[in-house]
C-alpha cells in the first residue's frame, strides 16, 4: 500500500508529466485556453491513460514477452492505444452519451498525445506490477490534468496582459509555463 501511495505522490507532483518529464506538451500548450476545455481534455486523458496503462501492461507481459517479441512494443502499444481510443469513443457514444458529448472532441487527439504512450513505456521500463502500472497511469494523468488546469487559469489572466509584440502568442505561454515549472521543481528534491 505504501508503495502505491509513493507512486501516486511521485507521479502527480515530483515527476509531473508536463513540468518535469515534458510528456504531453502539445495538448498542454494547445488546448489549455479555457478551464472548461482543459478539464475536458484532462478527463479524457485520465480515462484513456488509466485503461491503456492496464491494457498495454497485459499485452506486453502476457503476449509480447511470451512470444519473444519485446522489440515490437512501440508498434504494438501505439496500435493498442489507437484502437482503444476508437473503442472508448464508440462505447461512450452508445452507452454514456452525456460523457461523450463533453469528452468527444478531445478523444481523437489523445492517440498522438505522447503522455499516453510515454506512460505505457515507462511502466514497462521500470518493471512495475499490474496494479502499480494502472495506478501510475491514473496518477500521471491526474498530474497532467492538474498541470493543464493550473495553466488554463494562468492563460485566462494572460489574455489581459500586454506582452511586447514579439512575445505575443506562443513565447509568452512558454515563459509562463517555465515559471510554473519552476514552482514544480521545488518538489524535485524529494526523489524516492
Amino acid at each position: 500500500m505504501g508503495n502505491i501511495l509513493l507512486i501516486m505522490f511521485s507521479a502527480i507532483l515530483v515527476e509531473n508529466f508536463i513540468f518535469s518529464r515534458f510528456y504531453g506538451c502539445c495538448p498542454f500548450l494547445g488546448v489549455s485556453n479555457k478551464p472548461s476545455t482543459a478539464l475536458g481534455m484532462g478527463m479524457a486523458v485520465t480515462f484513456v491513460m488509466t485503461i491503456s496503462s492496464a491494457v498495454t501492461w497485459a499485452i506486453y507481459h502476457l503476449v509480447l514477452e511470451k512470444l519473444g517479441l519485446e522489440y515490437l512494443k512501440t508498434v504494438a502499444f501505439i496500435l493498442v492505444i489507437a484502437a482503444l481510443v476508437q473503442f472508448i469513443e464508440m462505447f461512450l457514444r452508445k452507452f454514456v452519451p452525456a460523457l461523450y458529448s463533453s469528452l468527444g472532441i478531445y478523444l481523437p487527439l489523445i492517440t498522438t498525445n505522447c503522455a499516453v504512450l510515454g506512460a505505457a513505456l515507462v511502466n514497462i521500463e521500470t518493471g512495475r506490477s499490474f496494479i502499480e502500472a494502472t495506478v501510475f497511469g491514473f496518477s500521471a494523468a491526474l498530474g497532467f490534468t492538474m498541470a493543464i488546469l493550473i495553466f488554463a487559469g494562468v492563460r485566462e489572466r494572460l489574455n489581459f496582459a500586454e506582452p511586447p509584440k514579439s512575445f505575443k502568442g506562443f513565447p509568452i505561454l512558454l515563459i509562463s509555463a517555465g515559471l510554473a515549472a519552476m514552482a514544480f521543481s521545488g518538489f524535485s528534491g524529494m526523489r524516492f
Binding site: 502539445c26 492517440t111 514579439s166 506562443f170 509568452i172 517555465g178
Partner: protein, 259 residues
C-alpha cells in the same frame, strides 16, 4: 503545381521551420535539448524516420484507403522508429541512455504525422523524401540552437558526451554556471525567448517586404526616386512600420496632386 526542390528546402529549414514557425514537436524540443550532443542525436534520428516514412507513405499514397490513413501512417512510422531505436541501442548505447524514452516517442512526434498528412500523401516519393530531409534538418537546427544556449549557460561547456562528461569548456572560470538552464524551467524559458526572437525577425522581414512593395509600386506609378529619398529622410529609418503606414496614407494623396 509541384514545388521545386529549392522551395522544399527553403520552407523546411527556414520559412516553415517545424519547431520555430509551425510550433510542432514541442515535447522533444523541450526534453532533449539539455546538451548539443543529445540535440544532434534526437534531431538526426527524427530526420531518418521522417525521410523513410515520407518516402514509403508517398509510395503507398494511392493504395492506402482514406478512412484508415492515419492508422496506416502510424504503423509505418512506428516501424521505422523501432528500427532506429534498435540501431541506436546497438551502436550508440550512451545516447540511448540519455535520450531514454524519447526515441520510441518519436512515433507520436506531431512533425512526422503532419508532414505525412500535409506533404507525403500528396506528392511523389522523391519530393517527399526531400521534404523529409528538409524538415528533419530544420528540426535538427532548431534543436541545436536551443541546446547551445541551454548547455552554454547551464554548464559553460558544449558537446558534453551523452553521459554528461567530457564537454569542451567554452566559458572560462569567471562564469558560474546557471544550472537552472538545464532544468525544465530553463527549457521553457529558453524556447520562449528563442521563438520570440524568431517572431521578431519574421515581423521585421514581413514589414520590410511590404515597404519595398509599396515603394516599388510608387516608382511604377511615376514617382521619382528623389521624392522617395526625400520622403525616407524625413522619417526615422528605424521605424519601418510608421513609414509603411505613412506611405500607404500619402500615396493616393500625392497621386491626386500630380493629376
Amino acid at each position: 503545381m509541384k514545388k521545386s526542390f529549392k522551395d522544399i528546402f527553403k520552407e523546411g529549414i527556414l520559412t516553415n521551420n517545424p519547431t520555430f514557425v509551425q510550433l510542432l514537436g514541442m515535447c522533444p524540443t523541450l526534453a532533449t535539448t539539455t546538451s548539443v550532443t543529445n540535440a544532434i542525436g534526437m534531431g538526426l534520428s527524427t530526420t531518418v524516420v521522417l525521410i523513410f516514412s515520407n518516402f514509403l507513405i508517398s509510395l503507398l499514397r494511392k493504395i492506402i484507403p482514406k478512412q484508415v490513413r492515419i492508422a496506416a501512417y502510424i504503423v509505418i512510422i512506428s516501424g521505422f522508429v523501432t528500427a532506429v531505436e534498435l540501431l541506436i541501442k546497438a551502436y550508440l548505447p550512451a545516447l540511448n541512455a540519455s535520450l531514454g524514452l524519447f526515441i520510441p516517442l518519436i512515433v507520436v512526434n506531431c512533425i512526422i504525422l503532419a508532414r505525412a498528412e500535409a506533404f507525403a500523401s500528396k506528392n511523389d516519393p522523391v519530393r517527399s523524401a526531400c521534404d523529409g530531409i528538409a524538415t528533419g534538418l530544420g528540426f535538427t537546427i532548431a534543436l541545436i540552437i536551443v541546446a547551445t544556449i541551454r548547455e552554454l549557460l547551464g554548464s559553460g561547456m558544449l558537446f558534453a558526451g551523452a553521459d554528461g562528461t567530457g564537454g569542451i569548456q567554452i566559458l572560462g572560470d569567471w562564469y558560474s554556471p546557471a544550472t537552472i538552464f538545464l532544468m525544465p524551467t530553463g527549457a521553457f524559458l529558453t524556447l520562449g525567448f528563442v521563438i520570440a526572437l524568431v517572431q521578431k525577425i519574421r515581423n521585421t522581414v514581413a514589414e520590410q517586404t511590404r515597404l519595398k512593395e509599396l515603394l516599388d509600386d510608387a516608382v511604377k506609378h511615376g514617382y521619382t526616386s528623389e521624392y522617395l529619398e526625400r520622403y525616407k529622410k524625413k522619417k526615422n529609418k528605424n521605424k519601418v512600420s510608421t513609414e509603411i503606414v505613412d506611405a500607404a496614407d500619402k500615396y493616393p494623396e500625392q497621386k491626386g496632386e500630380e493629376k
